[in-house]
Symmetry: D2
Subunit: 334 residues, 4 copies
Amino acid sequence: MDRKPFLSDNAASVHPHVWEAMRLADQPDSPYDGDQISARLDARFSELFGRECAAIWIATGTAANCLALATMCQPHGAVVCHEEAHIEVDEGGAPGFFLHGAKLMLASGDGAKITPEGIAALIDPIRDDVHQVQPHAISITQASEYGLSYRLGELAAIGQFARERGLGLHMDGARFANAAAFLGGNASEAAGPVDTLSFGCIKNGGMSAEALVLFDPAQADLVKYRRKRAGHLQCKGRYLAAQILAMLDGDLWLANARAANGAAAEIGQAASDRLMYPVEANEVFMRLTATEREALRAQGFDFYDWGAESARFVTAWNTAQDDAVALRRAIASL
Amino acid sequence: MDRKPFLSDNAASVHPHVWEAMRLADQPDSPYDGDQISARLDARFSELFGRECAAIWIATGTAANCLALATMCQPHGAVVCHEEAHIEVDEGGAPGFFLHGAKLMLASGDGAKITPEGIAALIDPIRDDVHQVQPHAISITQASEYGLSYRLGELAAIGQFARERGLGLHMDGARFANAAAFLGGNASEAAGPVDTLSFGCIKNGGMSAEALVLFDPAQADLVKYRRKRAGHLQCKGRYLAAQILAMLDGDLWLANARAANGAAAEIGQAASDRLMYPVEANEVFMRLTATEREALRAQGFDFYDWGAESARFVTAWNTAQDDAVALRRAIASL
Amino acid sequence: MDRKPFLSDNAASVHPHVWEAMRLADQPDSPYDGDQISARLDARFSELFGRECAAIWIATGTAANCLALATMCQPHGAVVCHEEAHIEVDEGGAPGFFLHGAKLMLASGDGAKITPEGIAALIDPIRDDVHQVQPHAISITQASEYGLSYRLGELAAIGQFARERGLGLHMDGARFANAAAFLGGNASEAAGPVDTLSFGCIKNGGMSAEALVLFDPAQADLVKYRRKRAGHLQCKGRYLAAQILAMLDGDLWLANARAANGAAAEIGQAASDRLMYPVEANEVFMRLTATEREALRAQGFDFYDWGAESARFVTAWNTAQDDAVALRRAIASL
Amino acid sequence: MDRKPFLSDNAASVHPHVWEAMRLADQPDSPYDGDQISARLDARFSELFGRECAAIWIATGTAANCLALATMCQPHGAVVCHEEAHIEVDEGGAPGFFLHGAKLMLASGDGAKITPEGIAALIDPIRDDVHQVQPHAISITQASEYGLSYRLGELAAIGQFARERGLGLHMDGARFANAAAFLGGNASEAAGPVDTLSFGCIKNGGMSAEALVLFDPAQADLVKYRRKRAGHLQCKGRYLAAQILAMLDGDLWLANARAANGAAAEIGQAASDRLMYPVEANEVFMRLTATEREALRAQGFDFYDWGAESARFVTAWNTAQDDAVALRRAIASL
């Protein structure tokens, strides 16, 4: 039986336009990021966000997140994030490595989103002395680990809080496109007032390139030295830059995200009472018993269990509409 | 005028077979290195080297070198290498990052090769006490920074020295294929008794994947944790694994290296009295005055100055034979 | 009015026997730890614990803890400790520094003690893959942050758990003497089956030396290299070694701890219904309202608030019996 | 036979005034550096140097040097120092640890002193790109490893060079007092325009405290967080602060240094043709054959060989004048 994949978007095939751009990059040029394609990134992202920024290709979201955080957190400081944030749970301790032992401070919050109140509750009790690690930065995830999108007002509030406390603000945007698509398609609004953004491409039809966007371009130098030092400066960088530009051309990033979000929305309509969270990106979390999950798998659907009583379904840019409909119906029929 | 490129092999185009393999990988599979292509690496390299080994894809030589060294050097130790080794001169301090502050100890040696005698001269004066950093490992480069290939006897001698001193032995093989081709095409002989090998593909027709070969497969776990922690575990790893396998299939790695070596040899024949080193791989270092270099550039040849009185020409898998011949003649005519 | 100090034991004066030993050390000898006094530590602690161990002086408990943990946790691993452990809360991120970015994993437990069940609840859900940091070691505190002493059976259970899981086991013994005194005065029983012990002296009448005890003496080399590398190898180490030996001579460590424990017990008898924890060392935690605390301070007692509704009283080797009695009465009269 | 010690100043006994100050500190006060003695350091050093500075006690010169360098060198940068500098040769890799993998760049220079020209020769060839580690700071040693004192003009020139290149400037002053005494006794002149100074006390009659002097007091916060994080914040810090103040009181630091320098000068007069370097502090390096060294040792003199053909004699604050005279005569009689 043909399997219908809802495991993750992180292993989906590469979009044809990305392939095409990579092929066009297959001619001699300068190594590293000295090529003509890499040179276009800053301007292209400045245009996208409507303000001057630097954009730097990096092969993984983990490295992009960590290099971003290195611009805002010293080794003796800490980064506040949600207790289920990817940087805490799924990056193999990379922040500790890239930040030379800095800590992650774990805030609570519904749907893996954090709020100024939640952050304040975490950091206000910290004594202002050398015995306790002090927060230097905040990292939020757009869309969150549960597929929720921060609204403009929420972002503004966190941004203001960060400024008041003198904290840097980073956004892990592994699924930034999905959040932006959900929020109406405006990149700048979806990013809000963050200082740095890991602009995800790989889960959205790319192959091996994310863009680290620095809204303070003066930080680019630091990131570039650290990228090299982390073994992340690829000598044929033009193939990475090309992927990113292909995602932006003709707003492919939004089109792909809309397709994925649409499929997720389709599934979400199966049974609103099963939904753990509203569907605001390309992930659907549903309460399903072990027996029900078994039944779905028996019908060819692949997905991850999420704890003992629920399941996670992830759609991708290339999720077949038929598969989404089939899954919706299968759940509805349980 | 069409430029004839001899700047470096590190930005050459990607070989068609590599492209083809990447396209074949463009179908759903498990993420990270759980895919069926990545799963083939260990066996394929074990076959190539005639002994059991683990092989792990990594996007850059810098990261491959550093992750290899992390298996053999503790943070309070040191790695002995040549004073002009890539890890010392051109990797932006990556060893210091990956090894948590371990030192590089710099040995001298003709043609950027090191010998047991040279290493002993460096480390024998080190007092065996905690005030001085102790060597934990040796790193050699095959072919060397000057395009010289370690012979079997040289490798055996270093290997024996390393064992006697209890030091790990790493080989930076960014141009391993070129050395192996020069030495007769036997991978195992070209690697000698090293514990770890950064098996280069990118300079030899690949795009974004090197293979880290661990001749003690028990070290694979450590490397995999550290690879993840360094943000180097790509979620669509199958595209990297595919590149590496394509290089091995039908011995493409040797064919490409032989082509590059052949072009270098052609150039080397221009003027034996100008040669700084014998041509044993795909690099040619020649004494050329500034005026002579200017004359060559005026004829369309691109290359790097190497100090004030010489130049470096690097060939690649796709160097046009006509270009090499033209360069040979141009130099001979100076 | 004369203040009666119950703030902490960490700034108490130095015991006369310690002073005397330091003065006796004030003659020429070899630098660092090559002197005759440092040379006696291994044997002296082996005798104390009834098994072969290495003992190394270190100026602070923070450094002792971290150097101990460095023998059992790799940079990509984690140390399990209580969420209120000193290494997590009060050491300024030192474990992250000394362990090169390794994580602390925070277990819950009454009275800042942890149990095999609590640890299992924390680490069992960790997937055995490279995306999640794996535990390498456990650290417990004897006596705990709330002045509770692990009993022999508790220590045995944690030791067995650690062995079964392949985890190192460290004991932060900043107040080890107080626990040992409470448990009957047998050092070996109070340490249980730990691999490393930070044997505290400073809070117990010393000035500037703790002893790091390694029950696997083969680890001493690693610790000594790391101690030097951390700038903790003092050239006049004999003054530190002398402090430690003075603490052991005639079981001064136990006598001092008994004095402190006795004073704490005295205070604890003031009002058993106010006690948050039984008094098993030299700390007393009591429920006291802000008004009550104010009243005590007005009578000359210094102590720390412990949250909004309680207070912490710490006694030391030199706490005046009269002061303890006075505090007991003052609390009883509230 | 009574041995006459010229091995090193690093294990000499503690000066009576230092002992006395420590005893006076033996009364209750706030822990860490919150005590009244520590609180006096900033003002006392500001007075000594005639400009505002912060002064922080640290137990070892290694830690003081590294914490100073951490204010001026990022993890991806480098510190330029002499190839025989203590931080390179004798600190067990501590700079790599404290600076998170930053490099030391080794300049040459007579008598272990470096010059703007020597530094320029080292760093000018470094390409301004991410592939090569960039210098962030310079560290010089006053007096140098060979007992030479930088003159005011030399310090001014290095200071100007550092400013022009945007590099921080640190001075390792393990024997700063000896240099200052040699230069006339003015602390400010002996420090020149450095940004940070490790003001040594231990080799000059102290026990376990050096002062890190920050001529930009705004850096004190960073150093204090890093000191804690490195396990160097002792809870009974008043005993360290007391040592330092005792050294400054009545210019004991200069008196002690003058005594040591005088003894070295005495020895230096034995045979000017044997002197490898002029005697400008408390170290004497002399050409002496193995036979001659053996003869001296047979007469009761203890000292270190310095290579195969010379010896190092170090005097201390308490070197007996008779011993120095005896050594002078013994050498003269060889």
